[in-house]
């Protein structure tokens, strides 16, 4: 069935016009290069070991962990939108649901791929499932992320099967229908899993009793960062979805979703962001005044080391917190697409900054009185292999966009019955 002529229209959903194949390939080419370079770099790390990175015994976590936490937070849009649509029955968000799933799938699979390079002995990584240490936040993360990745696959498959050619196989169509019935359930499960691993990613650092900069008291077994991470993730998720959709609209020069939807997303994002910032501020105050001093670390001492001064804290809370929260929720600013999007961008940057501070600053700060404040610059292998994930993301999304009906088509007829 391989088409001999240099075209792929038979694969593109009816009623959707897409750019010509050559133009599409031209768009993919640079990203393919980035991806290839990333695969090569990752290969080096797997073959020669992690000496290929610039991490060391003091900076045992580096760029990778920071970006993993980052993209997983941004990928939270997937489960959260599913949650809103299927659990809270917010039908108006339906149009971006597929995008949400694809973005989520890409973020999570990418993060997991990088993690497999990041661990020193990937061949033994499965021990976590066989000999799990139930007290470890990382165990929680590993279980939830791998399970949720499975859920995402199950959510992605029906979208995949809606491809024009694949629909030709009757059994697939049946399968897809069955699966689609499952989707609400999956959304529920996904929500549960996501709440836990987003949280335990925060817990990851919150439990570090040995690192008073990160250590937090908490509720039951979960430190406060557990809940802050959930909040910040669901706050930034929608913003990121908005940015992705907007980017696609820019590239394809066409309206894919009604503008009200953007405002809706922005509002949700903004409100959650506001809640998050409030919670974070309280948490920070408690930590500075009680938690940290109680273990012998004077408040504010962490901010004596440039470049990690107080401005970072300010930026996190005001510049990338309150400001976007306001812009996203305030009707006037939300109406202006430009403002809305830049606010969304600010929100996402804020979350990334938060993850950066927690991962990098925590390790850079001294604990013993005679420790030095440390610096670390990732090696090209680290940067490249992460670039690979981004390349993978863009390519993955582009393909999905081209060959799958990501956005319910304007005619509004239900994609399930339409088609041949």
């Amino acid at each position: 069935m391989a088409s001999t002529t240099f075209t792929d229209t038979r694969w593109i959903a009816r009623g959707e016009e897409r750019t010509s194949l050559p133009q599409f390939l031209l768009w993919l080419a640079p990203w393919a290069v980035v991806l290839a370079l990333g695969v090569y770099a990752a290969g080096l790390c797997l073959y020669y070991g992690l000496n290929q990175t610039n991490m060391d015994n003091r900076f045992a976590f580096g760029l990778w962990i920071f970006l993993d936490l980052g993209i997983i937070a941004l990928g939270a849009g997937a489960f959260f939108t599913g949650f809103l649509v299927y659990i809270l029955k917010r039908a108006e968000l339906q149009p971006i649901l597929n995008t949400a799933v694809v973005v989520g799938f890409i973020c999570y699979s990418g993060a997991v791929a990088i993690l497999m390079v990041d661990v020193g002995q990937p061949l033994r990584a499965w021990f976590t499932f066989w000999h799990p240490n139930t007290h470890s936040m990382l165990t929680e993360v590993t279980f939830c992320i791998s399970c949720y990745l499975l859920v995402l696959c199950l959510e992605y498959v029906p979208i995949l099967l809606r491809n024009r050619q694949l629909r030709k196989l009757p059994s697939f169509l049946v399968f897809e229908h069955q699966l689609h019935k499952l989707v609400p359930v999956l959304a529920g499960v996904g929500t549960l899993l996501s709440f836990f691993h987003q949280g335990s990613l925060g817990g990851l650092y919150g439990v570090l009793r040995g690192r008073p900069f990160a250590f937090r008291e908490g509720f039951l077994i979960w430190p406060s960062t557990f809940f802050l991470f959930i909040l910040s993730a669901i706050a930034s998720g929608p913003s990121f979805l908005m940015l992705v959709t907007a980017a696609v609209e820019k590239v394809t020069r066409r309206r894919l979703v009604p503008p009200e939807l953007f405002q809706r997303l922005g509002f949700i994002s903004g409100v959650l962001l506001a809640i998050y910032i409030a919670a974070k501020s309280i948490d920070t105050l408690i930590w500075l005044n009680f938690t940290s001093p109680s273990v012998g670390f004077a408040p504010w001492q962490y901010y004596n080391y440039k470049p990690f001064g107080l401005p970072i804290l300010f930026a996190e809370i005001v510049l990338f917190g309150l400001l976007p929260a306001f812009l996203l929720t305030y009707r006037r600013s939300a109406k202006r697409r430009g403002l809305l999007l830049s606010a969304a961008a600010l929100a996402c940057v804020g979350i990334l900054l938060n993850r950066f501070v927690l991962t990098v600053q925590t390790l850079a700060l001294p604990t013993l009185a005679f420790d030095e404040f440390l610096h670390y610059t990732p090696s090209w292998q680290e940067v490249a292999s992460f670039g690979g994930v981004i390349g993978y993301g863009v390519i993955g999304y582009s393909l999905s966009y081209r060959y799958l009906p990501l956005f319910a088509n304007p005619k509004g007829d239900d994609p399930h019955v339409s088609g041949d």
Binding site: N51, D56, Q121, Q301
Partner: protein
């Protein structure tokens, strides 16, 4: 009765010669890595040099041997390990690291406030023939795993075997002394059973000059340090004192 092995390190006696570091590496088959730096090297026992930051004749320096503190409560590295590669041994109180179980996620390294854990960034290698000089009691680690002080468990093993062969249940304390304590030319490092009231080490641990690092973290380390110099004892707690003078 269960033992609680620990050490008392008399910093006033330490001349920073580094014998403990070499003896430790030799006992535990720690390779010498050509490309390694102070930040990527393997030094399960590491002597750190600290000064009172004065100039001229007022300058004092102290050498602080740092190794795993074998924390007793809330042991930071144990709770974080996702696959039980770290545990506190009930019988000895030793915090054990199992490199063959480890998947190299390095979470325990970020958890350790003493930076006493080391990652094998490279595969171990020895010049041709030198593998004959490896200690048969210790398995060589491979790249991609975390290692640390296991209190020379190979010596505990041979002490146990010796006792068993002699039909004894308990080991002879003389048979079990970690390499660093054995090697220290000034007997600054002393090893003993903190659970045993009559053990001189457990008594020394309660001397007024004795202190432990970062006790307020509440991890109850089993490595005690000793100094008559107040500025040295002041190093026990966090950086807050001299945070101002340090900057990135």
């Amino acid at each position: 009765m269960n033992a609680r092995y620990g050490m008392v390190i008399d910093l006033d006696r330490c001349t920073g010669c580094g014998a403990c570091m070499v003896a430790c590496a030799s006992e535990n088959n720690v390779p010498s890595i050509p490309q390694a730096t102070p930040r990527t090297g393997l030094t399960p026992m590491l002597v750190r040099r600290v000064s009172n930051e004065m100039e001229g004749s007022a300058r004092r320096e102290v050498f602080i041997p740092i190794t795993c503190m074998h924390c007793e409560r809330e042991t930071p590295c144990v709770s974080v390990c996702p696959q039980q590669a770290v545990e506190v041994d009930k019988a000895t109180g030793i915090v054990m690291q199992m490199p063959q179980r480890c998947l190299g996620c390095r979470y325990c390294m970020t958890a350790c406030p003493y930076h006493a854990r080391y990652f094998n960034w490279w595969d171990p290698a020895w010049p041709a023939g030198m593998e004959k000089s490896l200690n048969p009691g210790v398995a060589v680690r491979m790249r991609g795993v975390v290692e640390k002080c296991n209190m020379c468990h190979a010596r505990l093993h041979s002490a146990k075997a010796k006792a068993a062969a002699a039909g004894r249940r308990e080991i002879d304390p003389a048979d079990y002394v970690p390499a660093c304590a054995e090697a220290c030319p000034t007997a600054a490092i002393r090893f003993g059973n903190l659970a045993d009231q009559n053990d001189p080490v457990s008594q020394e641990a309660h001397s007024p000059d004795a202190f432990r690092f970062l006790t307020r973290l509440g991890t109850e380390p089993k490595l005690y340090y000793k100094s008559k110099e107040a500025w040295v004892r002041a190093l026990a707690e966090s950086t807050s004192a001299n945070a101002e003078v340090k900057h990135g």
